[in-house]
Amino acid sequence: MARRIWLPLIGFIVWAVAFIVLYGAQALGCAFGWGAIGVGPIDLHRLVLVGLYLVTIAILAQAALWLARQDKTLAGEGAPSDLLGRAGLYGGLAALGAGIFTYAPVLFVSTCV
């Protein structure tokens, strides 16, 4: 039951982990020269970053869906569970939007200059 207190935090915890992973991938890619390894029209660095971006969005969307199911269940349980469920859902949606926005630069911004 006490675990429900974490619901409003889950979306942004995923966002924060993604931040560390993507920033880390950017730094490691420059340090290890992944930009010099061509993969079709793009390079390995860009490929890895865009791949991680898409995975991030997928996970955030999955989390938001899960939080939506929690919200539906908890809405019927009265206070404070319904508040936590609803806050969890909104937090998950906000984190999804934040993730799409924050990490979109991997699509077009220079990686190592």
Binding site: G97, F101, P105, F108, V109, S110, V113
Partner: protein
Amino acid sequence: MLPLAGCNGALSTLDPAGPAAGSVASLWWIMLAGASVLFVLVMALLGLSYWRPQAITRFSTRQWLLGLGVGMPSVVLTALVFSALAHGETLLPRPEGPQPMRIEVTARQWQWEFAYPDIAGAQGSIDTLHLPAGAPVDLVITSADVIHGFWIPRLGGKIDAIPGHFNTIRLLADRPGTYRGSCAEFCGEGHTGMGFVVEAHAPQDLAQALGAGP
């Protein structure tokens, strides 16, 4: 496009003498206009909340908070961030393509040392930077001691001089003339006086100015 002549000055970012500074100055005026509109909007809404509250209460809480709190800023911020990043891309010293002339800058407490490896026979200079007017240069900057900040406001943004690191900034002075630079990162007791002079020469005069010409 300069509304206030009082913004001119040898160190003024609002008196640009190069394309980098020029585009940032334009960005500033656009953001200033936008910010003014938003400020007036919020103040107007605050006034309405006291004197014409029905204009606000006719919206549901969800419409109000999602629309104004999330929707409106999202639109503004997406446009702003995207254009700022695209703009920033144009300012980068890319390693691809034709490479500009390279100048090596070493900051130390409390002076700036310039070396010109691309010009055979050039003398180094202290506290005076010699540039070719109308052509981009790559300044490769480091420090011999603490962190300093390299800043020529009329030409472009600043970049830090960090010991152990080499940071590159690409600048272009439109016209020959004298410009000024500052140390923009607090570096101890001599920080206040650690400015430098920038001389942009017509390209044919540059070598001579560096003591390497005929």
